[in-house]
Symmetry: C2
Subunit: 591 residues, 2 copies
């Protein structure tokens, strides 16, 4: 393959696009790999399409190696199957909906669980047909509220989605592990660092669930890991709950005047003035903060939820959302407080709220952080403006409706599995595998006859890779301040040959080398532009990011050609007669 830059449909840009914040977005646009067509919607230009194709090829090979079979579903789908699983509604504004000329409802599929399930139902009827794992590489649509970061969070994007179908949990586990292994091979072949973290399954339901994250500071996902090897999506971190304490000897609670203490800090300062403790000063972690949220359920029903957390921690809204999914979360507003005078802003206490305590089954729910176990004693609001309660004991003075994982996770928190203190990091979600179980098979009636002739609901696994996102993650991982620096397996070419100056002998030698190598199967990008300065050509080579750069120029008169790696590993002058072999050797060593 030989691409000549004199005719390649490409214009590199010296300036970052104004809407770009992250390196992959800036560089992929500047290097002419992609181009924005609408918010979160991109056009692939020739070089971008080449890289994308290489990623897809690796995915296909590993899917085939794992026994998965490729199919391809439409993107435009009728409403009915998504109605049966309630996702037509559940997806809310994230779903692109439309009507055809007969006013029938359609959607642009954000995922294809329903279609895979119905297809297997359509073709298969016996346990002997199972297991089967199907996949596709396909364009997905999600009407993101805030498309951002170029390919990292788009509204039209490319996914590999696979589903496994098994008769029992043992089969599901085997199918799951086969995909998990394939994912490890795929990301390794892509040259993409990854961390496998335990994940909540979010809106999908199900049991075992793991995400493949590419660690990077600009990642949207926060995850934790411990020295002992625990790793989890922050939404999936469970809090180490202390053992309950006896409270027989605990002093009775008492109300203290605390006017003008709108924050936890000001409350703690006041307490240390007006009610100092003997053994140690009051600390934010002694207080119990109660935060009011409004949840909107799938059917549009709205309810208030009070979340109690130790006062030294914030509520992490993403963790809260994961905990109450698919309901949507917003802070309670003035109207909510107006309807509930028992919620005294800034002084909310647990004594009189919650369904258990009020006996009102339709009342406000009160859920607390798992650290708030029976026998722990708290400073909290007295449900009266300007007053707090000291020494309010859980299990004696108040009883929450349950616990919830909504408090922020902090570096140094103990790992749930006891493997040491957690550290926090950020990453890009590039893959997600999880055991869907029987949710979709139940909803859509996918059953097969088992060995005893009985109908059994099939159990499913779901396995996704963000293909276009993986490309962006690679760009995040492999770039410097001059441009992209692709790993060899997915670079748009093996070698970038640059002819500099105006000497026809240079272009002749460079052209001959380009021809010779490309005829042998080396993928050559040849900068043969006649009137472009060496400086611009070098800058473009750095920006485009082909791993091997060959410069035919001044050295030619002295019988040498320069070869260097984009990553800066080496830069050598090689005799003309040896350059082709050196390129071959370098390409072979990288592939």
């Amino acid at each position: 393959m030989l691409i000549r830059m004199s005719t390649l449909f490409l214009r590199t840009l010296r300036e970052d696009p104004v809407d770009a914040e992250v390196a992959s977005h800036k560089l992929l646009v500047r290097a002419g790999y992609i181009r924005r067509a609408a918010p979160g919607i991109y056009t692939w230009l020739p070089l971008g399409l080449r890289v994308l194709g290489k990623i897809e090829q690796i995915v296909r090979e590993e899917m085939a190696a794992a026994g998965a079979q490729e199919v391809h579903f439409p993107a435009l789908l009728p409403r009915e199957p998504y109605e049966l699983t309630n996702r037509w509604t559940e997806y809310g504004p994230n779903l692109f909906r439309l009507q055809d000329r007969k006013q029938a409802d359609y959607l642009l599929a954000p995922t294809h669980e329903e279609m895979f399930t119905l297809l297997v139902k359509d073709l298969y009827s016996s346990y002997k047909d199972l297991p089967v794992t199907l996949y596709q590489i396909q364009t997905k649509y999600r009407d993101e509220a805030r498309p951002r970061a170029g390919l990292l969070r788009g509204r039209e994007f490319i996914m590999k989605d696979a589903y496994s179908f098994d008769i029992d949990d043992e089969g599901l586990n085997a199918s799951y592990l086969a995909q998990r292994d394939a994912y490890e091979r795929i990301f390794a072949r892509l040259g993409l660092d990854y961390v496998i973290v335990t994940a909540t399954s979010g809106a999908m339901g199900g049991s075992r669930s793991e995400e493949f994250l590419s660690p990077t500071a600009i990642g949207e996902d926060t995850f934790v890991r411990s020295p002992g090897g625990f790793a989890a999506n922050v939404e999936a971190v469970t809090t180490h709950a202390p053992a309950p304490l006896p409270f027989e000897d605990a002093p009775a609670s008492r109300v203290v005047d605390t006017p003008d203490t709108p924050t936890i800090d000001s409350l703690v300062e006041r307490l240390n003035e007006i009610a100092p403790r003997e053994d140690r000063a009051w600390h934010a972690s002694d207080t119990l903060k109660n935060v009011v949220f409004a949840l909107t359920g799938v059917g549009g029903e709205r309810e208030l939820l009070v979340v109690g957390v130790p006062g030294d921690r914030e509520v992490d809204v993403k963790r809260l959302e994961a905990a109450v999914s698919p309901a949507e979360v917003e802070p309670a507003g003035d109207a909510d407080f107006a309807k509930h005078p028992e919620l005294v802003r800034g002084y909310i206490g647990p004594q009189a709220i919650g369904r258990a305590q009020t006996g009102n089954e339709d009342g406000i729910r009160y859920l607390v952080d798992p650290r708030i176990v029976s026998g722990t004693s708290w400073v909290t609001g007295a449900n009266v403006a300007g007053k707090h309660v000291v020494g309010l004991v859980a299990g004696r003075d108040f009883t929450p409706d349950g616990t919830i994982e909504a408090a922020e996770v902090r570096a140094g928190d103990p790992s749930p599995d006891g493997s040491g203190p957690l550290e926090l990091a950020r990453g890009i979600e590039i893959g997600h595998i999880f055991q869907l179980g029987r949710k979709y098979a139940d909803a859509l009636g996918l059953k097969v006859l088992d060995a005893n002739g009985k109908q059994q609901v099939v159990t499913m696994g779901s396995y996704g890779i963000g293909v276009s996102r993986a490309l962006a993650a690679l760009a995040e991982n492999f770039h410097d301040d001059k441009g992209l620096a692709w790993p060899a397996h997915i670079a748009p070419a093996d070698v970038h040959i640059v002819a500099t100056g105006k000497d026809p002998a240079v272009f002749e030698a460079a052209g001959a080398l380009a021809n010779e190598l490309s005829e042998e199967g080396v993928e050559v990008l040849y900068d043969d532009r006649p009137k472009v300065s060496p400086g611009v050509k070098f800058a473009d080579a750095e920006l485009l990011g082909v791993p091997l750069i060959v410069v035919v120029g001044r050295g030619l008169a002295g019988g040498t050609i320069e070869i260097r790696s984009r990553s800066g590993d080496f830069r050598d002058e090689v005799p003309v007669a040896e350059i082709a072999q050196r390129v071959r050797d370098e390409v072979r060593s990288r592939n």
Copy 2:
């Protein structure tokens, strides 16, 4: 590549799908290549996806050989560019429209002229950048009123669309011919018979325009061809107009009573009774039939058009539509006639209609078939119920507003280029190439600096292949009553090995052969299903259509294996030791 039918995601069907009328639709569904997801929307199953991939690969190779560069546009596009070219409106109900969460208008692209034009505008600015030809293989959406025939007329389908960009007409011609040559190579490699016909460019505007049709009786498109090599879409046939006649000596017209002659036949019969001619009997071709249509323009404006054709021909609505495109056509209704009492149903004559004759610039237009030249004499309506006029002479007694190509084309009509009588045939449109010219570049402001530093509007060519439709056309061309019979280049496998019976030795030998061949790069579909009867396996092999079938069964005990072609060319018993070599030879001779 080795596909084992014991695990292949496939169920063949013995019954035709109830909604299928044409062979490709029936067989592709029965053989498990595709599956209907919604009207005109299909899912690709593993074997279908393999064939599709092979077709796409051939298209890509020939596009690259023709110097076209691959890009990929989104399917979901904003309204604005299509507004600038008026196609947001022009497409009418054929366009899938939707809104995003911010109520911004989007569409699912039916074609991408606007996007290609804007992309080139975005990147290029000089004549030195040209020529360039870009293409994509992409999913298109068209909300067909009557999706039918499976993949032949779908609502979500796959197209290769290419656009060339040139500074001048000479360049456009060269780009056009390069694509034309590529199309010839593509269809030849696909093994698909095709006819290149001159075409109207329909709603697209432009100059040179040719369609590639795959001839088949079930095709939607009618085309004509002559012994001398003329070939055209029926919409593009121009009528051979006779030379004008002198009319100085023509007798004056006279009105005759013709009550109860609602049809041309009854009129001719009456004339021969009441006003016989000396030299020959009256014939339908002596009459001038005037038919009233209502046209609806792009902006929704409605106007009446009267079309005059010789009475022995019908108006061909498809030709009329092509002639007045993008306006839409329907027969005039009662309300139209009520508004225009001058149009006397069944007795409409040209004497008092048409803008030229009435002098009313906003009046009803009157256009006639090109055969109605000055000096020709006609029997036609007298604009009075029950009366006709005999001897009405064009150019003397009436003057139409112009001519229109709307009369039906009939076998035996003279070819427009004088190359003999036309024959009519039907075909499937598999490709369309045409010179768009400057329509889109003008509308979207695509200009480049020419050699003199002046801004020049770029001229474009448009080149489409219906990729999924080509697959269906291949199925139409290559099947028999037992199933599909693919050409070797695009078959889902090179060889279909069938193991019959229950003898483990059979499965061992067949499996070894399958392994040996697939390891050498032969694509093997191996029917290793343990409990399926030979009859079912043979029927499936015929249905699936792999060109080479190897049967390992009863003969094995005698040391032979059967090899036969799906097309029935040969059926041989080959010694076991020679079978692998024979398969290799056959595969090599076919590829």
